[in-house]
Symmetry: C2
Subunit: 124 residues, 2 copies
């Protein structure tokens, strides 16, 4: 299978494979979005998710995004921002975009958003 | 397929379906673990992951954990702690447990750990 072909095992169109975000030295801000999908409207959801990624990357203060969803529908997205103001602005844009698409109740069984300040990081 | 059967498309034994963690009023601390799996040693990895969940839940200051991994191997885990001291203690326990299993290079292509203080949260 060529890397440009969609994965036939997935029920939703695949997006670009995720990489670990290249974030600067802390402090910076993370918005953690935890959600459980309904499983309904896979096409509408996938096109919204791609639009949200594009929208986020165009916002002032954007540092990167990481996202994963289990086969059972539980998902986590971490978006990284230079500061609290940029994260708040993104919250407004994201809520407006989802509201316009009337998707919240259709796409998510439940979700939780947490805004946090990163103080330390390390890895390999 | 019945919800109790493992998904045959998954290369690793499925664990308990995730729920959104019931965290208290902020502030509290989150440890975000972003990783890319090698795809090697699925059985060893799954048994380690279950052991880590059990270990975490037994630590002082544990508030909950959320975890998701894409079919392409990208994963995010958010573990929640009462304070920085509890999160630091967990870091020591987790590193020791992984080191004992000699799994870091075998299981992960790369990873990043970020420690952050949650200041606000909301959801539905």
């Amino acid at each position: 299978m060529s890397p440009t072909e969609p994965n036939p095992a997935s029920t939703e169109p695949s997006t670009v494979a995720m990489a670990i975000a290249k974030t600067p030295k802390p402090p910076y801000v993370v918005v953690i979005f935890s959600s459980i999908r309904t499983g309904d409207d896979g096409d509408g959801y996938a096109s919204m998710a791609e639009e949200m990624d594009r929208l986020a990357a165009a916002q002032p203060g954007y540092l990167g995004v990481e996202s994963a969803r289990d086969v059972d529908g539980f998902g986590l997205t971490a978006s990284y921002w230079t500061d609290e103001q940029a994260a708040r602005a993104w919250k407004g844009v994201a809520e407006h975009a989802v509201a316009q698409r009337l998707g919240r109740e259709r796409w998510y069984r439940s979700y939780r958003v947490r805004i946090a300040t990163v103080t330390r990081e390390y890895g390999f």
